[in-house]
Symmetry: C2
Subunit: 190 residues, 2 copies
DNA sequence: TTATCTACCTAGTGATAGGTAGATAAGATG
DNA sequence: CATCTTATCTACCTATCACTAGGTAGATAA
């Protein structure tokens, strides 16, 4: 059952990237945690680049499916945005950074194949946000100055940054404060 | 003239941390760039932890002095906040992340002495912002919902995150869009 | 039954990591 | 002049890095 091992490798590797960064862990670290040898990980992921690519691909797939669920769950922009925040808040609760937030920071020390996929993740997020923001404004559920793109930039940046700052200060409440402050402004419709 | 060499080491090391992360460079990388041997760097900074600590201490000193200059330059909150943004924008222009943004992300793989100083940097930023936001509201130059602390959290998180996202997407304009969108809301006083 | 595949192993590679010991050359100090 | 200090060097250490070669037990397929 190698699929199980490969998944375990991805699970551990993802946590290590999210907490220590791409250059902050080794194949041995992963191997040690799941009780195999580091050579066996090369069987599943020949190079660290392959592992990194698989990590981001899986992360984006999961994230995308969560975004679709959010759309299905409600058609009201405030609720959708709240759920979007909850996605990041959940990650922070596990004392982790967004995988792509971490990798985005480390861009210059990443294989091109990995950073290219990080780019794609952020594009996906922004495109989703832009749609939700547009619809929400049209339906008069939320209000904002400027373009949907600018607000999407702002929102995504805020969440990624709030995770970094909240973790650096060991205070997850700072994330909540920052995220809620943002939502409050969008909802203050008058 | 060892002071000069020590400064060169710090300059190169800072750039490497800001672009590649704490675990993304070695003493040999620094030595190669400034034309000495890696053993010589150990003379100035015995361990990598010492180097990391010196890096953040110097960064915070410089940053703090810039913040004081901003206060001296104008007593109007909108101008002060604009100048605060410009500090980060300048770093991004050099294709670098905020030193402490990067280190904050890598928290779990950092020596405690380093992460402790990263914490202190963010505390300094927030305290400064809280003061500026309070005074600005009192003087009716800016308006915001919620506590100054919440808005400071939001602002700092936004800037740190916007640097990560803008760099990941290779699009510095995204930083400007996000930062300006935020300022616009604060200044829409009515 | 014979052959192939899967998923791991042991044992290693060369490169590089952070760090150290001891020599040396140039100035400064007595 | 003799000594101490500073800043660098050469030469090395041990540990770890990503990665590979070759082997093997057990399942699967022809």
């Amino acid at each position: 059952m190698s699929a199980i091992t490969a998944d375990k490798v991805l699970d551990v590797a993802q946590r290590l990237v999210q907490t220590r960064g791409y250059n902050g862990f080794s194949y041995r670290d992963i191997a040690g945690e799941i009780g195999i040898k580091s050579a066996s990980i090369h069987y599943h992921f020949p190079s660290k680049t392959d592992l990194g690519v698989a990590l981001v691909d899986r992360y984006q797939d999961n994230f995308d499916s969560e975004l679709q669920k959010i759309l299905a769950r409600s058609d009201e922009a405030p609720k959708r945005l709240k759920d979007f925040i909850a996605l990041f808040r959940q990650t922070l609760k596990g004392d982790r950074l967004c995988l792509c937030g971490m990798l985005g920071a480390e861009r210059d020390s990443l294989p091109e194949a990995v950073s290219e996929r990080v780019r794609s993740f952020f594009m996906l997020c922004e495109a989703w946000l832009v749609e939700v923001l547009k619809q929400g404004r049209k339906a008069r559920e939320i209000a904002y100055l400027g373009s949907p793109q600018a607000v999407a930039d702002q929102f995504l940046s805020l969440l990624e940054g709030a995770m970094v700052v909240a973790r650096a200060l060991n205070d997850p409440e700072r994330f909540d404060r920052a995220a809620n402050a943002f939502l409050r402004v969008l909802k203050s419709i008058d």
